[in-house]
Amino acid sequence: MSVQTRWLGRLWPRTAKGKRAVTGYLFMLPFILGFFLWFLVPALVAVWLTFFDWNMIQDPTFIGLENFRHIFRDTLFLQSLKVTAYYTLGSVPVSLVLAFLIALLLNAKMRGMAVFRTIYYLPSIVPAVANAVLWNFVFSTEFGLMNALLRALGLPKVPWLQDPEWTMPALIIMSLWGLGYTVVIYLAGLQGIPEVLYEAAEIDGAGRWAKLRHVTIPLISPVIFFNLIMGIIGSFQVFTAGYLITAGGPQNATLFYVLYTYRTGIQYFNMGYAAVLAWILFFIILGLTLLVFRYVGRLVYYEAL
């Protein structure tokens, strides 16, 4: 036996607890390595950048806390934060519920469901650029589909993309077309509910509502929780809609936080301040996520835990 294997043998734990620890970390190994190389290293660089003025061409110059001080003078920072919060409140709850209802319908065992599922997912894969052109048409004041619909209902037309009051509602309506991802995740969750539970509930005389309330919702709650957390994380970082369709306007009404960060860093060559903005968002999302885990997480039902 070589020295090496004897060394390994001593390292390999004897107790059940120790064995679990080693197995756990072996399973985690790819992620942990990846975390250090692809997240921690660039993230530390981003921390370092917050103390510098860097236009990405010349060498960074140290400016101490100037980037942090700038936050308090920056009205666009507050505006972008407000816009992003508005979008999150407007889009996350609605798409969470709507996607769940659609998934319930799509889960029915009926003919043609494969086609329906594909159709509901389609908008999520239409390339962003093509999508942007389409939505400019849909929300066009004179010829747009949305205003044609309003006219049919006898309502006045709305300047969707010109009036700062209406632009965000327009983008929130638009975001509902992207709920295909959420629907697919719900569907996968619904498939995981054992059929026997429904059969048992039927025997006990449960109707559709009771089955939904006492079987489906508890068993799918880990997935609802996942979609809620990802909805918050995702919508706080929404970028494409503001970038491609409204370019942050009109009057910064759709200047999303990440769009503002992107502009500061990549377009105005102020990478140090962009790093500060990014870290602030990081802590905002972290705080929100912790709150949700604390107050919503306990409602989630897990089989194993």
Binding site: R20, A21, G24, P30, F31, L33, V196, E202, I203, A274
Partner: protein, 310 residues
């Protein structure tokens, strides 16, 4: 979990479903309602795709005509041929882009399914010290906007001489890093947590290793979730524009389909060729539709039948 074994016995004792006959009418009405709701929704959801397809059959001028025409007359099928064949000098064209994209996508499927399911399994099913800490780490990697990580990462890759290679677009995925890694870990963790523990216990008693339980019991049970991960991975790496733009744009022989598509904006005509862009976009999303349609089977094939009977 006691609940489940009880239900099995209840079902056997009663010998099947309740009388179906009296339910038939209500059931039919219910189905008609579901179908109608889905159909209305489907018409609304189809809108962007239909618009893309009709635009792809228009002339350059018609694409922006107000009010938009929904049925181009005559349809410009030539757009598809032009989109496929036109290419800048010394560019290999869409055949090669397609090959490169498939190469990246297939590697990423293997990498992501492997690395994220391992990590998710540990976070859901193995009781190791620091588990909650690492779960928090997984989530927090999604909370920092990618913009600020992009530049340091790019500098790192250029020091490593990885720019203009496929490495930056594939290697990180073997470590569940960058892009959807953390998202998939969280997703799979939620699914692993909802699987019954008895099966794993039974296997453990039989002397099965933890890896064996993961590989032979949990992975097959998590098929719907794994299919979801596989589909999302396909679509995200197929559509990924930022990655190839940063790391492959100077090397036309290594271009992906998404890069080829972007060429219709500005690259060759000093203006966006919307007609060709729309035709190429339509062609680009067809493989995704096919993949999604095929993956259906696995979404439907739940854990309902496997494992728990008997």
């Amino acid at each position: 979990m006691a609940m489940q074994s009880e239900t099995v016995s209840v079902r056997r004792a009663s010998g099947g479903r309740p009388a179906i006959g009296r339910l038939v009418n209500g059931e039919r009405l219910w189905r008609a309602l579901i179908w109608t709701l889905l159909l209305v929704g489907a018409c609304v959801m189809l809108l962007p795709f239909l618009w893309l397809v009709t635009s792809s059959l228009k002339t350059e001028l018609e694409v922006f005509q107000y009010p938009p025409k929904w049925i181009p007359n005559p349809p410009q099928f030539q757009n598809y041929i032009d989109a496929w064949t036109t290419k800048p000098l010394r560019h290999p064209g869409f055949g090669i882009y397609l090959k490169n994209t498939f190469f990246i996508v297939i590697l990423n499927e293997i990498a992501i399914l492997g690395s994220t399911s391992l990590c998710a399994y540990a976070l859901a099913r193995i009781d190791f010290p620091g588990k909650n800490f690492w779960f928090g780490v997984v989530l927090s990697t999604m909370m920092l906007p990618g913009v600020v990580l992009m530049i340091p990462t790019f500098v790192l890759y250029s020091r490593m001489r990885w720019v203009n290679t496929f490495f930056p677009l594939t290697v990180p995925h073997f470590f569940a890093a960058s892009g959807g890694g953390a998202f998939f870990i969280f997703l799979l963790r939620q699914f692993f947590l909802s699987l019954p523990e008895e099966l794993a216990d039974a296997a453990r008693v039989d002397g099965c290793s933890e890896f064996g339980i993961y590989r032979r019991i949990m992975l097959p049970l998590a098929k719907p979730a794994l299919a979801t991960v596989a589909v999302f991975t396909f679509i995200w790496s197929w559509n990924d524009y930022m990655g190839p733009l940063l790391y492959l744009s100077k090397e036309p022989n290594k271009w992906t389909v998404a890069l080829g598509l972007a060429m219709f904006r500005t690259f060759m005509w000093q203006r966006t060729r919307w007609d060709l862009l729309m035709a190429a976009s339509t062609m680009m999303i067809i493989p995704m539709i096919v993949i999604f349609f095929l993956a259906q089977r696995y979404f439907i094939q739940g854990i309902a039948v496997s494992g728990l009977k008997g």
